[in-house]
Symmetry: D2
Subunit: 389 residues, 4 copies
């Protein structure tokens, strides 16, 4: 009962996921930050096995995850030995590294786009993943309204790296019979009708887009809290600054837009009216590292015309938070494939994603979505399961 997982992108998130899973198996840490850790699932956390990782950064390709983890986590961090057995393979680049100032080369650069598709598919058939997780750095990507448009773009290679991976996942699912593709970045996959249909028809289960960590789910729940009391939110401001590659990427206008779309649409979905909103990744400052700083300010009208103010400040480790929910998404992905759920699963996305697909789906408060998720999968708390036996 093993879940074989491929990780696209070998940065902070992959490092935390891979090290965290091994430390969990050795009981060195508790499963904090994994939402469903206290629920009974057919697969446990110890069943997850990372069988491959990809990147295009020349300073990473060819190294083991062990070497990368030692660099990322600092010298004193006890990196599990098991990570020595996963080497970072060369992945797809397209334009994904433009402006990031890194030396990068993709399979597409090395052997051309056609060759790259074939090579990847072949590798994946060898690696036999059950779940593919996309955590590459946020890149710009368009939505394709129908299969024909998507197919044209994919054929010509006029797509971002994420879409290439998604397409190869479709080819792989067809060849092998099903796979789960988890898109944890904003580049649209679950919200991409044309691409999603291709994947669905090929038997892929898709979760996406943009893993809901950091301040956005907190904001969602705060908005629900205020809305339940019928308070008029006069405005909401939310700043974010971090020092990891993702924040660096977001200083580029086109990538930033990907994030912003995600976040401002949420507000109206929950409140039911237009709220003047400024929510956006605001800047990059290297010494903040992976622990971002979030500042939020909300003013609202209460009863009898009185005005209240809320200020929230937080320091949040970005990548561990995402790695934690991936532990659940991977397991739910495997289960969904087994249940034959093709295309995307809104109940999963509604809780775990910032922009839950399919396109046009509403955002809801996460607290609400949580109970809908438990219901969809029929999950029971572990302590109740034990009592029932």
């Amino acid at each position: 009962m093993v879940i074989r997982v491929l990780l696209l992108g070998s940065g902070y998130v992959t490092t935390h996921l891979a090290t965290g899973l091994e430390r969990l198996k050795k009981k060195l840490i508790e499963p904090y930050g994994i939402p469903l850790a206290k629920y009974k699932l057919p697969y446990g956390l110890e069943d997850i096995e990372v069988v491959g990782a990809y990147d295009v950064d020349d300073s990473k390709v060819g190294k083991t995850l062990y070497e990368i983890a030692r660099e990322v986590m600092g010298g004193e961090y006890p990196v599990p030995e098991e990570l020595k057995y996963v080497m970072v393979r060369r992945g797809v680049r397209r334009n994904s590294t433009d402006g990031l100032g890194i030396h990068a080369q993709g399979l597409d650069d090395v052997m051309g786009y056609e060759g790259c598709l074939e090579a990847l598919l072949k590798e994946w058939i060898d690696l036999r993943p059950d779940v593919i997780v996309n955590v590459i750095t946020t890149e710009h990507g368009e939505e394709y309204d129908d299969v024909a448009t998507a197919m044209n773009r994919l054929k010509e290679g006029d797509v971002p790296a994420t879409h290439v991976y998604a397409y190869v996942a479709a080819l792989y699912a067809k060849a092998r019979g099903g796979v789960a593709f988890i898109n944890a970045i904003p580049t649209p996959v679950a919200n991409n009708p044309g691409l999603l249909k291709i994947m669905e028809d090929s038997g892929v289960t898709v979760f996406g887009d943009d893993g809901a960590t950091g301040a956005t789910p907190l904001t969602a729940d705060l908005l629900e809290h205020l809305t339940q009391r019928n308070r008029l939110i006069e405005f909401i401001v939310q700043f974010n600054i971090g020092g990891n590659t993702d924040f660096q990427a977001l200083t580029r206008e086109d990538r930033n837009q990907m994030k912003e779309l995600t976040k401002t649409s949420m507000v109206k979905d929950i409140t039911g009216y237009e709220v003047p909103t400024y929510i956006r990744p605001t800047g990059y400052l290297e010494p903040l590292g992976d622990k971002k700083y979030v500042a939020m300010h909300i003013e609202y009208l209460s009863f009898n015309g009185f005005r209240d103010s809320i200020y929230v400040n937080a320091r949040i480790n970005d990548s561990p938070a995402l790695a934690g929910i991936l532990c659940d998404l991977i397991r739910l992905g495997k289960i969904s494939v087994e249940r034959g759920w093709k295309g995307t699963v809104y109940e999963v996305n509604a809780f775990f994603m910032k922009r839950p697909g399919p396109r046009g789906s509403p955002n809801t408060a996460k607290i609400k979505a949580y109970y809908q998720l438990l219901n969809k999968f029929g999950l029971l708390p572990l302590h109740k399961v034990r009592t029932m036996v």
Copy 2:
């Protein structure tokens, strides 16, 4: 279709409730801060009528609510003329004003405890309230485990003012056939088994205890948010300081205890484990007035052993928030009486109260309780009701 309301206590909350309701009737303000304003209820906000108010402060008794509102709200505030028709009557004092430094006299001081009970009952039979709302300043009060104990204490008058009012409400309900009693302060009524049974048997519908406004419901929802992600909360600190009579009262240790009990029990109910907690009304500083300052700090463990920090600061108008939810509680009280629901109604308390009765009931996240409340009363959003017609 009028709901006749008696208000016990004539301070900030009563002022905001009375002025706010009249301004709503005149369409001068929107119904912000009233949670169910967008739902279809058998009674509208315009149906609520304040028919009487009580206090023991000599500087208030005998004045109209209009005069009091002018003092409380400041000279520039447009106090509705209708408040001229409600005069503040002398109520019950017991020890409720000890240490507050005000000149106060209750009916019990004037005519003895027995006479006071009779006089009140007679007045209420004349005033014919449907709903009685207790918003006197927080006072110390004990829980009576059974009817006999309660009855003994009530007979002897060895009870706080709140319990006297609750008892007269029982006598009134018996005489007249039902009434709703809303206890918006921490002194235990809905959590008071002996007293509650007496009221239930007399036909009183009781909501209580301690109206859930300010930072406590926000904290509850934050805790649920963290718990859903299985983050280990290492500690929670929450300071509160204000400049109204309630904060002044809470500088007295016995009154403060009433609040603290309420708040710390909530944390474990939601998280499921013991969290080191410091939550408490912290101080009194006059110029803050009714707009309290709340500071909160939480640290928790996320995935892979990483630690995040959250800081929340807020300025919240205390009394308007409470007045806003009273607009719903009054209507739900009237409806509950009509449906014959005697004793207390957990689904109402779970959303609206900080310490939901009956005693031993769990606190839940307010966001969850909200949907249970809608369900209990079969409420539908107004815009959906309109569509259905």
Copy 3:
């Protein structure tokens, strides 16, 4: 003993300055926010008289400051009648309104650049200002290294509006014998060697650049506080968002640069080392109005390698703060002219400006600069002056 003042720009700051001064004269308000109000100066606040105002916005030109104040301050604000006697005149536009989305026309549009210079000079000779205050919306502007460069650009009109005003001030000072020019915006004047020399040679006293209000002086003093304790500041983040025209203007990259230069140079001046810094006007959100939201976060190393964190959040009324210090700058300007101080006065700039001229001058903690200012002008507290008599 009157100080005749011309105001360039007729927005929030001009409105607050003009209404505040009149309300002070009528003793309707206390002189809060005026740093030297408690010191003995040869000129009192009641001596300041606004004799003219300029703008290029078609919706303002031709109106009185009274009309503008009514629009800016809202209907309930008691605008002093005296403002009816100051009409907004048409000023210089150049590129100062590009991208702001307003209908604007300058004298330079109407009568050509040459004509504009002559017309302005003539008007000023009629109006006889002692002090000219520049508070137009932040515009992009370059520094001219020497007089020749400055003169060339000024002759051709290839300069921002601010520089045109500064040049006309020079012509006016020559004709009339001295004037003070206070540049309260970031466009370089006191830090503009070529332009400053021209002004100095013509007898202008210049204060500038960029009035030190809001979070920047607070940050300066916090940095001094940390530096005095030899704590190693690991980074400093400071976000600013507001809803006034200045924030709107700052969403344009070229204008934003003007502000950023000002702010980041300050950090090294005070700490003595390079601190990773993100300080910048971050966004524009209309409902915040003139009351900006500032969020700041600093981490530093303390003794024995331990790390502390500070978070500052604030809501600050931008324009009143600037108007308040202008009340002093105007008086110090008049005094400096009388003392024959031509060119710029560092001691004034060091306390009152974000980027104190002349170019190359260090920023210091404001708390320190304050005492240097008192010393430079030989100022004594009023209560001591009274005692001495």
Copy 4:
């Protein structure tokens, strides 16, 4: 050129001071958090040597500072081997441990008050300290208006432990010729006229009271910042909560008073008027440990009657901050003794202490006091000293 130091109290501060000094000597850390580290003093940090430490806690007496540091700092912290040579001796108890819930015994318990005085004096004469630092847990203590009162109380032993130590310091100074006594806790010594005179006459140099770390100096500088701009501070709230012994002690009302007196007197000293103030150690919560949480809120009036709000939240390591300034106080103490400065030195206290003695001395902004301190000792920055050579 060695400064021999005795440490009274063997808790967090002593641990940080002792470990930090050794790590500095080995160049393992930079001298961050030591205000004068960049100034030229006759004594360097490497000259400081801890020759003895005292406590009354049975779980500490008899252990070496090495053992204690390992317990306090946690297993992974590299405690310097040199600490193995300092053993904790039994000190004076009086009532200093009442209510702290620790097993404690003082020399006074073991051998009576008289014997304790003699034994201590003898030990000190052997240990030959140049500087004695008092960092025992805050205890209640009174001020003695004159020498006679002080002498009576000291003779009878009706004094807190701090006063016993101060008295033995006087006896020691007389016998040996001068010593510096640094009182880093609130129990009054420098502000204690009778006791101070005894010490002065015996040749002791006294610095005190209550080392200025944490939020209080920051608050002082913020107040100065606002006062310099003549803003009317409407109120100031400051909460503090921590998890070390000092916070635990401060939950006892009498000890808390010691702190509160210190803090509220400061506000008026700086602003010049009465500000409604709530500043106080607020609570104790164990998991916060030595890193306290501070929340502060200030509102003030700016120009033209507008109101601004500031919120400051911080997490501050309490003991390292105090240990850092002790590194300077010890050196200044030695220098002052050499210069023959007996009694207390206001310029030292004004910067380094929360309640600068002698009694009646004003608090000033720390930023100001810093320059007065440099001046008093004629200190020059190291980089300037190097240039001059």
